[in-house]
């Protein structure tokens, strides 16, 4: 699939290749991830979109070496050419400390509620080798960078004294403290109000541009992904079904699932159509459909779709895994 041998100069920052992840047999009938390939370049923002059970969060977490208990993997997850899956605890710590940072959905779950925000930040900075004297000053700087008023006062406060949006900024500040090359954002704004979401996304983007950080943005919200990402991967039942530059994906979705997802999203514009539901429901881990996992819900499915697993076919900057993609069914 990737004919050219990548040299260190143009190697992508994150290169997930053919990643398959299985749970022990009794826990799932199908692999959670099934041949997932995904790349994030330096400074690039890449969206990973899917519904619950699509495997998007699991894929994101593998980058930090966080695997579900008892799972087996095939394929590779390379961060700057180091395969994370082959790393021991020390190697993983190195990756987590220096190269990859993660922001989770619920900021309250990522911060120790019993400790002051200042301790939370300086602790991380000390791990990075900063001296006890320098750390508080740097922590203050970081908080200022994410737009927290009175950063010095904020350092002395406890997490419960912050709103969700403010706390997520603290988490972002901590994540960016080590100047990581790659930021993993797993639904970072889902728990936040819309107006707060805009602010937090604004901060993320600004810092990302300033530091040249690559970002993998995991979300269920196709509109949000389209608004901030350069490229988007769409996942369904553990597989990548489509990837395209954001604008193109929105204008001309190539996979019926992507099209269905777009059509089922309620829109605010005055003249917009009412949302059109996709029939059926996402594939659970207990089901292992033959052929295309979406065939059951797909209006365009033919007999072949139920038996043959569609391969992800690349076409310039786009890729789609649909047996009928060539036929122009969506136009």
């Amino acid at each position: 699939m990737f004919e050219k041998t990548v040299t260190s100069g143009d190697a992508p920052l994150l290169d997930i290749e053919g990643l398959t992840l299985r749970l022990p047999d009794h826990a799932a009938a199908r692999p959670i991830l099934d041949g997932v390939s995904l790349r994030v370049g330096r400074g690039e923002t890449v969206g990973l979109v899917g519904e619950s059970g699509s495997g998007k969060s699991v894929a994101c977490r593998t980058v930090l070496g966080l695997l579900p208990q008892g799972s087996r993997t095939e394929g590779a997850v390379r961060v700057a050419e180091t395969d994370v899956l082959g790393l021991g605890p020390a190697g993983l710590r190195g990756i987590r400390r220096r190269q990859v940072a993660m922001v989770f959905q619920d900021p309250r779950a990522s911060v120790n509620p019993m400790r002051r925000v200042g301790d939370f930040l300086t602790e991380g900075l000390r791990l990075l080798g900063m001296s006890k004297k320098q750390a508080p000053a740097r922590a203050e700087e970081l908080l200022a960078e994410v737009g927290i008023r009175d950063p010095r006062g904020a350092l002395r406060r406890f997490p419960h004294q912050f709103s969700g949006g403010m706390l997520q900024r603290v988490v972002i500040a901590a994540a960016l403290a080590g100047n990581p090359a790659l930021l993993l954002a797993d639904e970072p704004t889902t728990a936040l109000d819309v107006t707060t979401q805009a602010e937090v996304v604004g901060i993320l983007r600004r810092l990302q541009v300033r530091h040249g950080t690559g970002m993998l943005f995991v979300t269920h919200d196709l509109e949000l992904a389209a608004a901030i990402c350069d490229r988007i991967y769409v996942m369904y039942a553990g597989r990548i079904v489509e990837s395209q530059p954001a604008a193109a994906l929105f204008e001309h979705p190539r996979h019926p699932y992507t099209a269905g997802l777009l059509a089922s999203t309620p829109r605010l514009e005055a003249d917009s159509e009412p949302p059109r539901a996709i029939p059926g429901r996402p594939v659970s881990l207990a089901e292992a459909p033959e052929g295309c996992a979406f065939a059951e819900r797909c209006a365009f499915a033919v007999e072949r779709c139920r038996t043959e697993v569609p391969a992800l076919v690349h076409d310039g900057p786009a890729a789609v895994a649909c047996l009928r993609a060539e036929e122009g069914i969506l136009t």
């Binding site: 749970l23 009794h26 826990a27 799932a28 009938a29 519904e51 619950s52 059970g53 429901r281 996402p282 594939v283 659970s284 881990l285 207990a286 089901e287």
Partner: protein
């Protein structure tokens, strides 16, 4: 059509093997909790069986005195030897399991029921009812169980009854506090609120929905309490406040074994002490295991 062949759940959590109903499923659920849990359940089941069938299993009358055969070591006639009065230790151990389990059963049974009633009423009614019940539970807390038991013995006399009553009283606030905390949490869950919106009375919501849903958590705690109660009752017997001397009881046996211990004969004290430790540890493991199961179910 087999009901379990095609799972209904899409998108949801993968159906764990234990989620299936029926005996094989249940056994697998037990096994899924780990070998330690399984072993503890087996030990407790054995203990109950031994206690129930003690008259059939015991090789000797537990109270048959044979001074000629005092402090015999373990051998083919007496597997665990005999005590100072020449009584067969194994037989006494088997019979001792009866008082040993019956006492804690009464304590845990009554304290669990009382605790659930007090805790649920306090949580559901709130306000002054809650304050009253909570303060009275705090008051009971202030009394150490042992002290309460000794007081009870002073009033009611020795035997199993007085310490058991005392410990029922002493254990109730532990259960009550736990129940109050989890019932308050449960009360604020949407499913309970939806019953309120439907117009059900508080009584029927509590009895039919709230209590059944908190029961697994309470039972986990009760299993642990069972071990403590067993230990404390044995302790009282040991001190001479509980079951009295001739009766076969583990606490009494340890107490009587003190003399032989000075003569370097271990078994008369060691055998019942070991039985106590095994039972307490097994109840602890089962309790923890049940608590884990509840936690897992809640995701």
């Amino acid at each position: 059509m087999t009901a379990s062949a095609t799972p209904l759940v899409p998108g949801g959590a993968p159906r764990l093997p234990g989620a299936r109903r029926g005996a094989p499923g249940r056994i697998r659920t037990l096994a899924a909790q780990g070998p330690l849990f399984t072993a503890a359940v087996v030990v407790l089941a054995l203990l109950v069986l031994l206690a129930v069938f003690a008259p059939l299993l015991a090789p000797y009358d537990p109270n048959a005195i044979n001074l000629k055969n005092s402090l015999a070591g373990s051998g083919p006639d007496h597997w665990l030897g005999t005590d100072q009065s020449g009584r067969d230790i194994l037989s006494r151990l088997l019979y001792g399991a009866r008082t040993g389990l019956l006492g804690p059963l009464a304590v845990v049974g009554v304290s669990t029921v009382l605790g659930i009633v007090m805790g649920v009423v306090a949580a559901w009614r709130g306000g002054w009812v809650d304050s009253l019940l909570s303060r009275s539970m705090d008051l009971l807390f202030a009394f150490p169980a042992m002290l309460l038991a000794i007081l009870c013995v002073a009033v009611f006399g020795t035997g199993l009854t007085a310490p058991v009553i005392a410990m029922m009283v002493a254990y109730t606030p532990y259960v009550g506090r736990l129940v109050r905390a989890i019932a308050r949490q449960e009360k604020s869950r949407p499913y309970i609120e939806s019953y309120r919106v439907q117009g059900w009375s508080g009584w029927s919501i509590c009895v039919r929905h709230l209590i059944p849903n908190i029961t697994p958590t309470v039972l986990a705690q009760s299993a642990i309490n069972f071990g403590y109660a067993l230990m404390e009752l044995a302790g009282l017997s040991f001190l001479g406040f509980g079951v009295q001397a001739p009766t076969a009881d583990w606490g009494v046996m340890v107490s009587e074994g003190q003399g032989p211990l000075l003569k370097d004969v271990m078994l008369p004290a060691l055998a019942p002490a070991t039985a106590i430790v095994i039972a307490v540890v097994a109840f602890g493991i089962v309790g923890e295991g049940l608590a884990d199961r509840v936690a897992k179910r809640e995701r």
